[in-house]
Subunit: 243 residues, 2 copies
Amino acid sequence: MTEKTNTSRRRLSRPLVLQAAVALADEDGLEGFSMRRLAQELGVVPMALYKHVANKDELLDGMVDIVFGEIDSPSIDGDWRSAMRRRAISARAALKRHSWAIGLMEIRSPGPANLRNHNAVMGCLREGGFSFETAIHAYSVQDAYIYGFAQQEKTLGFQTPGDAGEAAQRRAQSIGAFDDYPYLAEIATKLPGSGYDNAVEFAWGLDLILDGLDRRRTPDGNPTVASSAADPAPTRPGRPALT
Amino acid sequence: MTEKTNTSRRRLSRPLVLQAAVALADEDGLEGFSMRRLAQELGVVPMALYKHVANKDELLDGMVDIVFGEIDSPSIDGDWRSAMRRRAISARAALKRHSWAIGLMEIRSPGPANLRNHNAVMGCLREGGFSFETAIHAYSVQDAYIYGFAQQEKTLGFQTPGDAGEAAQRRAQSIGAFDDYPYLAEIATKLPGSGYDNAVEFAWGLDLILDGLDRRRTPDGNPTVASSAADPAPTRPGRPALT
DNA sequence: GACTATAGGTGTACGCCGTACACTTGTCAA
DNA sequence: TTGACAAGTGTACGGCGTACACCTATAGTC
């Protein structure tokens, strides 16, 4: 089970390499992930990989785009709010499945799935009645929250309600910090019984943000950045008029 | 200017090592940062560092806690909202100064400055009238936003309004994606003239979140998690009663 | 079926990395 | 002056990404 478990025989291909790479990172995290480990997993010598990917960075780009491909692309028609909510929740799920990707989603140079998703988000907001400026803001605040939350969730590393409090308690006690930090102590003692759940936590903040966006969506909202009069969304099917 | 510019002579110390490490990471980023480079910068052989830090991980812990120390700790008395706003803005500033720390703030095991800050935030919320459950939510959504925004800002890498549009344009064009992604194209063409500013952007989302928190702060707010009746904050000066 | 071009797998090697372990040396208390 | 001990040194090991030259198995032609 440790050697060449995967994929019958040699004769690699780029998709096969990418897929094996994602699987390996899912298992071992990004620290355990190396070109040499991946090659071994594929039953091949390390340098063989370089016939299919330019280098490790480019490999990571491809892996990240696979994760992007697992995120719901909102449709342009329909309720912007529920579409955004669905996308955010599916993004959190994807990042939970592939938590090695969390630091990378925004760093690697964007692949096709990334571009498609981002275009769809922006389109959904524009067609949902957001001005250009406000759509940019809305985009920014949502993505910051999604990726930031995923990062936190990865760190704290508890998923079941039971674990949550234990983790907090272990942490605080290991520092011996209860006396100096009464409010942290409150967390350590109260969280265990509170039925804390990361999915609920994520939704709470997400809905707070979506509420706020809805409230700022109206065309008479505050244009915080220089903007001209009416700004219609790009013409739908093809390429918009771009001066 | 490349060799032993720093700190006159040998005779290291832990704070000196940490400080030099932060400086080096500020300059070269985390990729360029290695024990060997740091030792060289200090005019010392690599193994000398290990007399003052246990290993690279522990060194990173110390570096991160220095960054935490540069973040405003909110005071417990006074307006919770302005205190939270100040903390968030100072956190963004610190992460901008030390952008290498962005992926690390939540991963490394917490140091004293970290604990102090987190305790102060929780205290500020509790004394500001948030129920325990809501304070946890408030905490989570704020930190996710702050760290997520910092991550995005680091990636996009533009700071001056001028750069912003150029970066977007360069990005989109390098992919040749204009035709397929009209809404991304809109960003690429409109952002340059819009006076985009990361500080404004950050504040927009931050205020959206703080508005939402204020709206949910009232004691009759929705206790999403199991909670008993009245839950007073921990008694102020010393350690609260913890059953 | 034999021949050959070439895509794809191999072997070796280099310079980086973190750090274990045994050593020398500089400093300060007695 | 001495000697203990903290601090800096030198050497070495295994792992990393990957450059470069090499071999080989397949596929298209006759």
